[in-house]
């Protein structure tokens, strides 16, 4: 059990320690996205109202989910789509395999889908001799480097252009010394296009599904999902059961929120609406549960199902920005990952809830008002109650608990810590190998007096002053 637990802090330390380039580059680019998000949000006078309404629409839908699922299914079938239901990743992949093998399809292209990542779909298909090409540039970079996406909307943001130049040089023969993003994009465009034209099916995810029409919406900036849906004869969409919205008019709210929250842009370049198969084509929709119905029953955690996968919580998170998404060792990283991943495997992801400062910034930027930081704290309680914590941490937290419970112990500890700070050698606190997190930071100087000492002193002075 313990051997497969993800050591997120250790992984993050490796990301920080690899050189002086990657972590600052990652931090800077994600913070820039956060700043753009703020500007875009400020330009919408009703922004906070939109967050509240979007949150309520999602909560309404989720508390009536059976009703909206049936409505969506009936309308999608009426439009001519084929609808399948999959309880878990294995059934999703099996269903997909049956569709592809019945048509002798040996090559597909796919756009970004976190659900397909959850299902391990690409490996499943490749093991059965089907070639899979990621059509999103960032996802393709990750595929060629045998890595999962490190961010929900910017899959390769932890890589520098030099890293990508090296990967492309190896995979498609580009000049390894040319790190110009325009050059690299052009080379991949030419390589990918041949694959697009050979593919027997195009796969997409689903950003939003509309119950009243049986439609679904896919948002991309590259137009890659649309190529997959419009060029091969078959379009297959993987849809989580939580993707539903009741009405078409709801999209006016959610589309306004999504890309502004993600990248600070007004919308994605392409917002595409699929209502049944295109002229002369086939449309298959695999509605997948994979743990979601169980999550719906968790009083403390079901609000995580409101997530629209914008990545705003990742961009703002001071811990994520310095860790890189791969450190989390899971399909979902960053604050949203911390609260989603343990629902798949509590033991494996038991360390994740501690990879947070609980600063609350994630909850503040979430466009659907998920109480992310509160849920992180609640997951810590779950991990502690179930004794998933490593023994050293349990002892430390246990000791802290005792100290905080007993005021006299706390006062003693406070004074002792101040004294200890004076004598702890600097190299112990800031040694790069021992504590990469301290590299750019200085601990604050301890006050000469503790607050309590100061308070007691002034209280005494106050008491000594003559009464008016």
């Amino acid at each position: 059990m313990a051997k497969q637990r993800v050591d997120v802090a250790g992984n993050a330390a490796s990301f920080i320690d690899q050189d002086d380039i990657h972590e600052p580059f990652h931090d800077k680019n994600l913070w820039a996205a956060r700043m753009k998000r703020d500007a875009a949000a400020r330009a919408v006078p009703e922004w906070e109202d939109l967050r509240t309404i979007a949150s309520l629409i999602k909560e309404h839908t989720l508390t009536h989910l059976d009703h909206y699922l049936e409505m969506f299914e009936a309308n999608a079938i009426k439009r001519g789509a084929k609808v399948y239901w999959a309880r878990d990743a294995a059934e999703h992949n099996q269903q997909l395999w049956e569709i592809l093998s019945a048509r002798n399809i040996d090559a597909i292209i796919k756009s970004k889908s976190m659900l397909q990542e959850e299902c391990g779909m690409t490996a499943f298909l490749e093991n059965r001799g089907i070639s899979v090409t990621e059509s999103d540039l960032g996802e393709r970079i990750q595929q060629l480097d045998n890595q999962p996406p490190s961010h929900i909307v910017m899959p390769a943001i932890h890589k520098t252009p030099a890293d990508i130049a090296a990967i492309f040089a190896n995979a498609i023969g580009t000049d390894p010394n040319n790190t110009d993003p325009h050059y690299l994009n052009e080379a991949m465009r030419a390589d990918a296009r041949k694959r697009f034209l050979k593919a027997g099916a195009g796969m997409t995810g689903v950003n939003f599904a509309i119950a009243e029409t049986g439609s679904f919406v896919v948002c991309t900036n590259e137009g890659n999902a649309d190529i997959g849906a419009s060029v091969p004869p078959i379009h297959i969409a993987s849809m989580g059961i939580e993707k539903l919205l009741p009405k078409v008019s709801d999209l006016g709210i959610f589309i306004r929120l999504l890309s502004r929250s993600a990248l600070g842009t007004l919308a994605t370049q392409y917002t595409s609406h699929f209502s049944g198969p295109r002229k002369g084509g086939e449309l298959h929709i695999i509605i997948t549960d994979n743990g979601r119905s169980k999550r719906l029953g968790l009083d403390d955690f079901w609000h995580s199902l409101k997530c629209i996968r914008c990545g705003a919580c990742m961009n703002t998170c001071p811990v994520y920005r310095r860790s890189g998404g791969l450190a989390y060792g899971a399909t979902y990283s960053g604050p949203i990952g911390i609260i989603l991943d343990p629902t798949f495997d509590e033991s494996k992801y038991s360390e994740l809830p501690y990879h947070s400062t609980l600063c609350g910034s994630c909850s503040e930027v979430c466009p659907v008002k998920i109480d992310i930081s509160d849920q992180i704290l609640k997951w810590r309680k779950v991990m502690a109650a179930k004794k998933y914590l490593p023994i050293s941490r349990r002892l430390a937290f246990g000791a802290a608990g005792k100290v905080f419970e007993h005021p006299t112990l706390f006062h003693g500890a406070e004074t002792a810590a101040s004294a200890a700070m004076k004598v702890t050698p600097h190299f112990l606190l800031y040694n790069r190998g021992l504590n990469p997190w301290g590299r750019h930071r200085e601990l604050p100087h301890f006050a000469k007096q503790t607050f309590r000492e100061w308070y007691l002193q002034y209280k005494q002075q106050d008491n000594e002053e003559p009464q008016q």
């Binding site: 580059f25 820039a32 006078p45 509240t52 309404i53 309520l56 309404h60 508390t63 009536h64 989910l65 059976d66 699922l69 999959a86 309880r87 059509s135 540039l137 960032g138 970079i141 899959p155 390769a156 252009p161 325009h182 994009n185 052009e186 296009r193 509309i210 029409t213 439609s215 900036n221 590259e222 137009g223 890659n224 649309d226 190529i227 419009s230 060029v231 059961i241 078409v248 008019s249 999209l251 006016g252 709210i253 589309i255 306004r256 007004l266 919308a267 994605t268 370049q269 392409y270 917002t271 595409s272 699929f274 209502s275 198969p277 295109r278 002229k279 119905s293 169980k294 029953g297 079901w302």
Partner: protein, 195 residues
């Protein structure tokens, strides 16, 4: 109790539904913030990487198309308003559009808030025209504008078309070093002719 996956999922959902139901919220009509739509639409289009042109009439638009894309070998038009040299109505398989240099499409309407244009399967004739073409020219009646996404979704009719796309400028990516590049997988450029 041999339920199929559909029944099992719906049962599991019902079993786990939160006991406290949440009502669908009241959605107010938000105040409009864009006083004049056309200039805002043009500005947002340019922000999204598109170019905007105002040919005097269709003959001028045809000349502009020839001038803008003088090197184009294959021009495929889905609108009777402008002529190309590939008849889209004869296309049976979307792969036939793989060599199109310029696709020409008339959009239904535009959105002033963000510079999007609405294209349906009927506007595209063959959906792939919007994505395999190296460059796109979009015709749009400058009077056919809505203010924002709320109004835009009142104007679309998803029940009437299998495919509809809000397109906002050319294909874009920032997946390499967070640097914006146009022409990722879809169109390299998008010109809007207001006519």
């Amino acid at each position: 109790m041999n339920l199929n996956p559909r029944e099992q999922i719906l049962d599991a959902v019902r079993q786990h539904l939160p006991t406290e139901k949440v009502e669908y919220p009241a959605v107010p009509v938000f105040q409009k913030t864009i006083p004049v739509l056309l200039p805002a639409f043009e500005a947002r289009l340019r922000d999204a990487g598109a170019t905007v042109h105002k040919p005097a009439d269709l003959a001028a638009a045809q000349a502009l198309l020839a001038q803008e894309h003088a090197d184009a070998k294959v021009i495929c038009s889905a609108t009777p308003d402008l002529q190309g040299n590939r008849d889209i109505h004869k296309v049976i398989n979307p792969h036939e559009l793989a060599d199109v240099d310029v696709g020409v499409i008339r959009a239904g309407f535009g959105v002033a808030e963000n510079g999007m244009v609405w294209l349906t399967q009927e506007d595209l004739v063959v959906n792939a025209l919007g994505f395999l073409s190296q460059h796109l020219v979009i015709l749009l009646d400058p009077a056919a504008l809505v203010a924002d996404m709320y109004d835009a979704y009142l104007r679309v009719h998803l029940e009437d078309t299998a495919y509809g796309c809000f397109m906002m400028g050319p294909s874009a990516t920032a997946d390499i070093g967070a640097v914006l590049v146009h022409g990722a997988q879809g169109a390299r450029s998008l010109s809007v002719y207001l006519i």
